[in-house]
Amino acid sequence: MKFLIEIKKCFLSLLSHFFLTAVFLFQSVISTAELNLPDTDIQSNSYLYFQYDAKGKEADGSAYQVLKIRTNNTAKNLSEFDSIEAYCRKSSRPGKQDYMAYRVPVEKLNNEYYVKIKSGNYSIFDVYVSGNYKNNTYVAQTVFYLFGDGLKGSTGKPGLVKLPEYLPVFELTESPQNYWPQTGNEFRFLCRVPEGSGSIKQMIVIIDNKKVSRIFTDRNGKFEYIPAHDIKLNKGGTSSYKEIILLNSINRNGKNYTAAFNLLVHRSRTAFLNVKNGAVLFTVSIIFFTAIVLIKRRTFKYK
C-alpha cells in the first residue's frame, strides 16, 4: 500500500514539474514577444528628469537637498518650456498614498533650473516637477530621505494642493522600508496615469542616458525593478550613489505625457556579506590564539 502511495506521489510530482515547465516556456515565449516589440515612442521621446546635486546641513541643523532639473535633449532648453511647476509631498513613512502636495519654487542659477528641499526633521520627500513643451507634458519625479535635526522641527505647515490629475506619477508601493535604497533591493511601482488614458504596461530603465532594459507590469499592474550591483559603487565608498531613470509615456487625446522617475541607489550593504566565511575565520582565529596562549603558558591547573 505504502509503495502505491509513493508511486502516486512521484507521479504527481512529475506531473506538476511538467506543468510548471510548460508554464515557464509559455511565459518565456510571451515575454520574448513583448521584448521584440518595435520601439515605441518612449525611446525617441525627450524627457525631463531630476539630477541629484548638493546635499548638506544648514547652520540651524536642517538638512537640504538640491535637485537640478534637466532634459535629456540638449536641443530643448528649459527656458522654452511653457511652465515649470514643482510639487513636494512630505511624509514620515514611505508609501503614503495621498495626492496632497505643496508647491516648491523652481529657482534658476547660471541657466540651470533647480529645486531645493529643506527639512528640520526626519522626513521622506516625493518631489515632482512638470513642464509643458508644445503638445507634450513632461514630469520628473524622485523620492529621498532627509535627516534634518534642527532647532525648528518644521518650517510650518505649507498650504496643500492636490497634485494635478494629468501627472502620470510613480507610486513606490513596496520599496524596502529603508533609508538606504540599495542595489539588489526589490522596488515596486504603481503608475498613476491621467484618467481615460488607459494603463501603462511598460517602462524603460535608463542609466547614464543609455537605455538599459525594459520592464513590464505584473499581474497586479505593478512594475518590479531590482537594480543590479555595480562594481563602481562598491569601490566608491559609503556616500557613492547611482541615479537610475525609469521612464514611461502615455498618449491622451493626441497629447503625450512622459514621466521620468529618478531612483537613487547606493551600494548594497548586505549582498556581499558572507557569514559562513566569517564564522570559519573566527573559528580558525580562536584556535590559533588559544594555541598561542597554551604554548606560552606554563601550567593551566591550580596545584
Binding site: A59, G61, G237, F272, V275, A279, S285
Partner: protein, 309 residues
C-alpha cells in the same frame, strides 16, 4: 557584599543598555562605555562612535557656531559630565562589554584554569596600544574629511572594535561576523574585526579584563580624573603593605599597593571594581568618596566578614 552588588548592577546595566531601546529608552550618543550602537534596540551609544563620526573632530571649526557645532559641544559636554559624575564606575559597573569579559573570567574560574600573567615589560608595552587606538580614531576621520581618504575608512575604531561583532550576538544578530567582500577596504576591516574579536575572547578568557588593557575610553576618562566627583584615596601611613590589593586587581595595578606619598590612587587602568578595597585587611586605608561623602572605607571587620565563607 560589594562584589555581589556589583554583579547585580552589571547585569541590570547590561540588560538596560542592550535591550532598553526596545522599551523606548534613549540615552543619546555620549555614554562613556561600550554600549555598542551596532546592537539594534540598544538604549544608548558609546561616545567613541560620536567622536569618530559627525560629532567628532572631523567637524569643521567654521561651523562651530551653528546648531551642528552646538550639538558637537553638547555631546562632548554630556560625555564629560557623565565622566565627572561616575568616573571609572562606567568601566567596572556599567560597561556591557566589561560584563561580557567578566563572564569569560567566571567561566575560566569555574573550569579551574589559572589566569595568565604578563611580565611588567609586556604589560607596559601593551598599555601604549590604547593611545595608538585613540590617535587612530581621532586622526582617520579628520583625514577622510580634509585629506580625501576613502570614506570606507570611516568609523575606523568601530570597524575593528571587538564589541561590534560580539555584542549584537545578544540580540541574535550574526551579521557583523560576516566577511564583507564589497571591496578591499571593507574586506580587510571585516577580517580584522573578526580576528580581533577572536583574540579578545581568548584573551579575556585567560586574563581578566584583557580588552581593558587596550580600551581607548580609559585615557579619555582619566583626563578628567582631577575634577571627578568620585575619589579613590589611600592613607599610606596605615597600610601594612600586604599586597592583597595588587593580587586581587583584575587589571594588575601596582599603584594602590606601592603608593606612599599621594592620596589619590586611581590609576589610568583602574576600573573601580573595588576588589582592592574589599581585600584590604586594614582599617581606614582605602576609601571611595563621592564629593565629601564616603561610599566605602576599608575595615578589618568587613574583611573578616567578607572572607569568612
Amino acid at each position: 557584599m560589594i562584589g555581589r552588588i556589583r554583579i547585580v548592577t552589571q547585569h541590570l546595566m547590561f540588560i538596560f543598555l542592550i535591550y532598553g531601546g526596545r522599551a523606548g529608552i534613549k540615552l543619546g550618543h555620549s555614554l562613556p562605555c561600550f554600549a555598542c550602537p551596532y546592537v539594534s534596540g540598544c538604549s544608548g551609544h558609546c561616545y567613541l562612535m560620536a567622536l569618530q563620526g559627525k560629532w567628532g573632530f572631523e567637524f569643521a571649526v567654521a561651523d562651530l557656531f551653528s546648531y551642528e557645532g552646538f550639538r558637537v559641544l553638547l555631546y562632548f559636554a554630556i560625555f564629560i559630565f557623565l565622566i565627572i559624575l561616575l568616573s571609572k564606575f562606567w568601566c567596572g559597573w556599567i560597561c556591557p562589554f566589561g560584563t561580557f569579559q567578566d563572564w569569560l573570567a567566571i567561566l575560566r574560574k569555574k573550569t579551574g584554569i589559572r589566569e595568565s600573567e604578563f611580565s611588567w615589560k609586556t604589560r607596559d608595552g601593551l598599555k601604549k596600544v590604547k593611545y595608538v587606538l585613540l590617535a587612530f580614531l581621532i586622526i582617520i576621520p579628520v583625514l577622510i574629511t580634509y585629506a580625501g581618504l576613502h570614506s570606507d575608512f570611516s568609523l575606523p575604531f568601530c570597524q575593528i572594535c571587538p564589541a561590534k561583532p560580539i555584542m549584537p550576538l545578544f540580540t541574535g544578530n550574526v551579521d557583523h561576523f560576516a566577511l564583507d567582500y564589497t571591496n578591499v577596504i571593507t574586506g580587510t576591516f571585516s577580517a580584522l574585526s573578526i580576528i580581533i574579536a577572536a583574540a579578545i575572547i581568548v584573551g579575556s578568557f585567560f586574563k581578566d579584563r584583557f580588552f581593558c588593557l587596550f580600551c581607548p575610553m580609559l585615557p579619555l576618562i582619566q583626563l578628567f580624573k582631577k575634577i571627578s566627583l568620585l575619589r579613590f584615596e589611600k592613607e599610606a601611613d596605615l597600610c601594612s603593605g600586604c599586597g592583597n590589593c595588587h593580587r586581587m586587581c583584575p587589571v594588575d595595578i601596582r599603584k594602590v599597593s606601592d603608593e606612599r606619598s599621594n592620596k589619590a590612587v586611581m590609576d589610568e587602568d583602574c576600573i573601580l571594581c573595588m576588589k582592592c578595597q574589599e581585600s584590604c585587611p586594614e582599617d581606614n586605608v582605602l576609601s571611595l568618596k563621592f564629593l565629601k561623602y564616603r561610599i566605602f572605607l576599608t575595615s578589618r571587620k568587613y574583611f573578616i566578614r567578607n572572607n569568612r565563607s
